[in-house]
């Protein structure tokens, strides 16, 4: 059976390969960074299993690894690595034409097929794909198929897959790590009671008898908390437990389905404003080699602001009516 765990091993293998190439180039910090990350990804399941059985040591070592990564991050200068000569690329582009799109489109296509039909793939009475994380497992499989197809189309040696992958990985640098680190911070904040503290603050500051004030406080809280945490999913339970259920649903009679759906979307608007949503707002800055951290946010915040206004109006007019 193909599981998400094998995908993690594949990631670890790729990161280790990138570490070796950097070691050869005497880029010590980069080599150490990818090597530590490879160990953390490969050892993830072991750490979690041990922690579930109250063996804290592997988890503590993983924590030390995270701190090591944080210490190395400022040294991960994002230098543009040497690419193949543009004229040669242009010549290949003219020669290969649309064949170049094939492998690139295989990634979404194979992912799609596995996501939709993967559940039907049964060999000898056993599922081919782990049903719990099918789409992500499909993505990993798609990447493997795509790299093979790409090597064939480009008539390149297998080493090129690692070399070119490493080029892009080093272009990303520490930005590749930020989504994970932020998600980890979310876990820490949840465990240390940051959520409760924020919802208590909101309730202290608003006039709870006004339905409009409660809606505004709920929406503002969703946006603010999403901006701080980089994730609407983290904000939702906090604001719902603190403001949504006791004040809006119980006291003012709001419709829970509408409040839930539109409240979550309010948080999504906040995601468009924040560097904390790194995989959406910071990773593309590195991927597209943009000069400023805020470039993607600058391109999208106006859509977010308009949408926030429309959503707030819809929520206020619909939520007490149905």
């Amino acid at each position: 059976m193909l599981t998400i765990e094998q995908s993690y091993w594949l990631i670890a293998l790729f990161l280790a390969g990138a570490a070796v190439l950097n070691l050869r180039d005497r880029r010590w910090s980069h080599a150490a960074f990818w090597a530590v990350l490879a160990v953390l990804i490969a050892g993830g399941k072991f750490v979690l299993t041990a922690a579930a059985q109250h063996h804290e040591l592997p988890a503590q070592l993983a924590g030390a690894g995270v701190i090591a990564l944080a210490a190395l991050s400022p040294r991960m200068t994002r230098r543009h690595l040497v690419e193949r000569d543009p004229a040669a690329r242009e010549a290949d582009a003219l020669r290969l034409g649309h064949r170049l799109f094939g492998p690139a489109l295989l990634i979404p296509l194979v992912t799609l097929v596995v996501a939709v039909a993967g559940g039907y793939a049964v060999i000898g009475g056993r599922h081919l794909f782990d049903p719990t994380r099918m789409t992500l497992t499909g993505l990993a499989l798609a990447c493997v198929i795509a790299v093979i197809a790409a090597l064939r189309v480009a008539r390149a040696k297998p080493q090129a897959g690692l070399a070119e992958g490493r080029r892009l990985l080093d272009t990303l640098g520490w930005a590749a790590l930020l989504p994970l680190t932020l998600a980890a911070l979310g876990g820490v904040f949840a465990a240390t009671g940051v959520g409760n503290a924020i919802s208590d603050l909101v309730r202290m500051l608003i006039p709870v008898n006004s339905a409009l004030a409660c809606v505004l406080a709920f929406a503002a809280g969703m946006v603010l908390f999403t901006v701080i945490m980089g994730n609407a999913f983290a904000a939702f339970p906090v604001l719902m437990a603190g403001v949504g259920i006791p004040l809006l649903i119980h006291q003012h009679g709001a419709n829970p389905a509408i409040l839930g759906a539109m409240g979550m979307v309010t948080g999504y608007c906040g995601t468009l404003f924040t560097p904390m949503a790194a995989n959406f707002n910071i990773v593309p800055v590195a991927l597209l080699e943009l000069p400023h951290q805020g470039d993607v946010i600058r391109a999208q915040w106006k859509t977010g602001a308009w949408l926030l206004g429309v959503n707030l109006a819809l929520m206020y007019f619909l939520v007490f009516r149905f």
Partner: protein, 262 residues
């Protein structure tokens, strides 16, 4: 005193805000924030390390996107970005707003069906959408300067984000809707997933309309050659097609002929 202790973990939030404001490298800022809020909550160093470690590795699915890099890298080496650009340049009727709005709609519909990983910043924006958008923008007849090129790229990334967010929330079998349903169930309110998903639809439609309008306005600025306010100033301020070092702009004339037959 007890009240103060209750609010003490918020120091971690303060560290995050201050760190981002002072433009420190975000990774150490985030890790320090975690340690600070752990210490403020009275946890031991060992507990904080373990908490940091388990939280980190349990989110490792977020790193799956790096698996796309080898395939994308090999194709880039063989001229994928150049070809995407040449091809779009050869399609005269495919303008910048049409390209981006079509992508936005497609991304929203795919996400509504739960196919969120099908596209993305690494999978589709860098190798396909961004170079295509650059080529579509250059149909105004002049090459883009660095600032304009960066603005077009950033707008492409933004379009992907908006399509993803405001489609995903309508999908009933994963993510947001199930989180909402599960949360309510814990608090004694029983709802069907479809009830919740339907109420996310008005905002999804509003998102499409608002971003489509912004796309048209943005494309108009680019086609007039007015430097958009969101553009990052490039090294050169002149409008001349100063050859960017990273990805040279392509002379449009030479490329139209060989591609016309495809």
């Amino acid at each position: 005193m007890i009240a103060l202790l209750h609010y003490l973990p918020l120091l971690g939030v303060l560290v995050v805000v201050a760190g981002f404001a002072l433009r420190f490298n975000p990774v150490p800022v985030v890790v320090v924030a975690g340690i600070v809020s752990g210490l403020a909550a009275g946890k031991s160093i060992g507990d904080i390390l373990a908490l940091l470690g388990t939280s980190f590795v349990s989110e490792r699915a977020l790193l799956l996107f790096v698996l796309t890099l080898p395939a994308i890298g090999v194709l880039e080496r063989a001229g994928l970005r150049e070809h995407a650009r040449n091809w779009i340049a050869s399609l005269r009727s495919l303008t910048l707003p049409r390209l981006l709005i079509a992508y936005l709609g497609l991304r929203q519909i795919l996400s509504m069906l739960g196919l969120t990983s099908v596209a993305g910043q690494a999978q589709t924006v860098r190798p396909l959408l961004a170079p295509m958008a650059e080529a579509a923008a250059e149909k105004r007849g002049a090459a883009l300067n660095d600032g304009e090129r960066n603005a077009v790229r950033a707008f492409s990334a933004a379009t992907d984000n908006i399509g993803l967010f405001f489609g995903e929330d309508v999908f009933i079998a994963l993510g947001a809707v199930l989180l909402i349903q599960g949360f309510y169930a814990q608090h004694g309110i029983e709802l069907q997933p479809l009830q919740i998903a339907l109420w996310a639809l008005p905002t999804a439609i509003a998102a499409f309309i608002i971003h489509a309008i912004r796309t048209v306005l943005f494309a108009r600025q680019i086609s007039r050659g007015v430097p958009p306010p969101s553009a990052s100033p490039g090294p050169g301020t002149a409008r001349d097609p100063a050859p960017p070092v990273v990805q040279p702009s392509l002379p449009a004339v030479r490329l139209r002929a060989p591609d016309a037959g495809e």
